[in-house]
């Protein structure tokens, strides 16, 4: 049992109070601590990657209480991959934030570390009550980050965001209660053992609970019909926070992958593949709505929000097929869409700051400072986000289309993915040409933007380099992701690793 597994939760949990109490008045110190902590998180995540890359599943029983009675953390390939992604994104976004926007309000860095603690915990936990607790940790931090800097529009969007998430938390608890009342366990591996033996009379409670839980994860993942909170929230949140939130939708996707393959997957008796018939239509509708929203958006920030919704639809379409090959494609697209979605929010913010009066509205206005540089960055980001060759979005979509060939719904999925890609290309093309090309010929000028924002540009460069890296190393990466997907579908390994020899004889309570 290695103690490194709990480090991604403990480190930010210690760092945040230090930032809150020790570095409250000293912004330089706070920035140094915050970056050091995030770099350390990346290091830990990479070290964990080397430990799990041979297929071992590490478990950590808190207080040495054995599962299923104690709380257990589990690190397998999927969890650790999400940790690495979180750390990479968090580091790049932090560079953007320390370029000035962390001064807009108080305690940015402390909230940021709490946010990372919640996200990391959600990826590592092995039981779904602690999943609820870590969801709350990351949500509470996100409420603070969301209204960082204040302002009426942001507070209004913040209140709506809190209300929808509190309702989500209520549903989460009810769902946990329903599942616990029939399965008698909160441990995911133990649940996977017990679900096939649930009596027929209790199936209704179990399945209703599981589907309610799916609804909660779909709220997080912004799937139709519970997607409506996302565009307003992301467009009104500070850019650095919106970019970090790109990983939060993926927390929902991660939970769907984890729970609905492990506990409600192939061996779940009457509840076999419980999520599939609900998830696929919702995901396809989300894909259409998101990409149509890209075309209809009037602000760049809104456009980025709808691009995130569309990418979540695409991601969950591939997950909803519930095959290893489709899951591997989905994981590749997950890595890509997190980076590509985040960079769009950062670019939108830099553009908005340079166009006082117009902000990031898709309107023709005079040219602004660093126009060519930002236009180039937007061009690359748009190529990645729409899935045009040669960047990673293209490879991700290609892998998904290939994986969907075996599905009975292949025709629908192909039509919608290709059709929405075209709509997205038109939407991004229209936005880019309005903002960058038409603007150059316009008479008049904005006041010279004094800041060079070099750190922000480095952050954007890092995220774009991530997309390029995903493209260049697509070969080894897909091999690794294939192994990850196979490990997720080999649920026996997970159960064996968590419960070890303590597997209790299954049976109804």
């Amino acid at each position: 049992m290695t103690h490194w597994i709990i480090a991604p939760v403990v480190l930010p949990a210690i760092m945040a109070p230090i930032l809150l109490m020790g570095a409250r008045h000293d912004m330089v110190l706070a920035r140094i601590f915050s970056i050091a902590s995030t770099v350390a998180l990346l290091g830990i995540a990479l070290a964990l990657t080397t430990m799990v890359s041979d297929g071992t599943i590490l478990t950590y029983a808190l207080g040495n209480w054995v599962a299923p009675f104690g709380i257990v953390l589990v690190a397998d390939r999927l969890s650790v991959m999400m940790l690495v992604l979180t750390a990479v994104l968090a580091l790049a976004v932090l560079f953007f934030a320390i370029d000035g926007s962390d001064r807009d309000g108080r305690h940015f860095h402390a909230l940021y570390q709490f946010q990372l603690m919640g996200i990391n915990g959600a990826f590592l936990t092995g039981d779904f009550f602690n999943l609820f607790v870590f969801f709350e940790v990351l949500l509470i931090a996100s409420y603070g980050l969301m209204v960082h800097g204040g302002g009426p529009a942001r507070m209004k969007a913040g209140v709506q965001y809190v209300v929808i998430n509190l309702v989500g938390s209520t549903l989460f608890l009810i769902a946990v209660g329903m599942i616990y009342s029939v399965a008698g366990t909160l441990n995911m591996a133990d649940l996977a053992v017990k679900v096939p033996h649930i009596a027929a009379g209790d199936q209704a409670l179990l399945q209703a609970g599981a589907l309610l839980l799916l609804l909660v994860f779909c709220i997080k993942a912004a799937l139709i019909p519970v997607h409506f909170w996302l565009p307003g929230t992301y467009a009104n949140a500070p850019a650095a926070v919106a970019a970090l939130f790109a990983i939060m939708t993926k927390v929902g996707a991660y939970c769907v992958i984890r729970l609905y393959i492990l506990a409600f997957g192939a061996d779940a008796g009457a509840a076999t593949w419980l999520a599939a018939p609900w998830l696929l239509p919702a995901a396809l509708l989300t894909l259409v709505l998101g990409m149509t929203g890209v075309l209809a958006a009037r602000r760049l920030g809104q456009l980025a929000g709808f691009a995130v919704i569309g990418s979540m639809g695409l991601l969950l379409t591939s997950i909803a097929l519930f095959t290893p090959i489709a899951l591997s494609a989905a994981l590749y697209y997950l890595l890509h869409s997190t980076l590509a979605g985040a960079v769009l929010f950062l670019i939108a913010d830099l553009v908005a700051r340079r166009r006082p009066g117009h902000e990031d509205g898709l309107s023709v206005a005079p040219g602004f400072t660093q126009l060519k540089l930002l236009a180039g960055a937007f061009f690359i980001a748009a190529i990645a986000a729409t899935g045009m060759p040669p960047l990673s979005g293209f490879i991700g979509k290609l892998l998904m289309l290939d994986a969907a060939l075996d599905s009975v719904h292949a025709a629908v999925i192909w039509t919608l993915i290709l059709g929405t890609s075209l709509i997205a290309i038109i939407g991004f093309g229209r936005a880019g040409s309005t903002l960058f090309w038409k603007s150059t010929g316009e008479p008049g000028s904005f006041p010279e933007h004094a800041e060079k924002n070099s750190l922000s540009l480095i952050a954007i460069g890092l995220l774009l380099a991530g997309c390029v890296g995903l493209t260049l190393f697509a070969g080894p990466l897909t091999t690794y992701l294939d192994a990850t997907a196979e490990q997720i579908f080999a649920t026996d390994q997970y159960i064996e690793a968590v419960l070890g020899n303590t597997v209790l004889p299954g049976g109804s309570l």
């Binding site: 807009d104 009550f129 607790v133 709350e136 509470i140 409420y143 209204v147 800097g149 204040g150 302002g151 009426p152 529009a153 942001r154 507070m155 209004k156 913040g158 209140v159 709506q160 809190v162 209300v163 509190l166 309702v167 938390s169 209520t170 608890l173 009810i174 946990v176 209660g177 329903m178 616990y180 009342s181 909160l186 009104n236 908005a352 700051r353 006082p356 902000e359």
Partner: protein, 122 residues
């Protein structure tokens, strides 16, 4: 007792859902509080309703009540209590900044002096 408990959960949930769907923030906050009460009572029932039984091992006990839901409810109470405080503060701040306590804030125009101070950050 089963009827009492289930009707309490049902009533609290119904009232909570109704209030959450109101247009102003204060009823919404009350609705969220009622929903969390309903959830707490519901969670308590997931361990089955048992009267006068200890939750921890004792030599005299003939039967036990499930201790786990009690721990869950305790966690849920703490979290929902803190969340109610957060949403009250945010609703108040939103009202003070925009001059409207509508959840979508669209019933009254925003006073001009407030709009000035935050221009460019929207």
């Amino acid at each position: 007792m089963e009827f009492l408990l289930s009707s309490a959960v049902g009533l609290l949930t119904a009232a909570g859902v109704y209030l959450v769907l109101r247009a102003r923030t204060w009823p919404v906050v009350l609705g969220l509080a009622l929903l969390s009460y309903a959830t707490n009572v519901f969670l308590f029932a997931t361990g089955r309703l048992v009267l006068n039984r200890p939750p921890v091992i004792s030599p005299e006990a003939l039967a036990y009540t499930d201790p786990l839901p009690q721990a869950l409810v305790l966690t849920a109470i703490v979290i929902s209590f803190a969340m109610t405080a957060v949403i009250v503060v945010m609703a108040l701040r939103s009202f003070l900044e925009s001059g409207s306590d509508h959840v979508d804030g669209e019933d009254q125009p925003v006073p001009a002096e407030n709009r000035e101070s935050t221009e460019g950050r929207a």
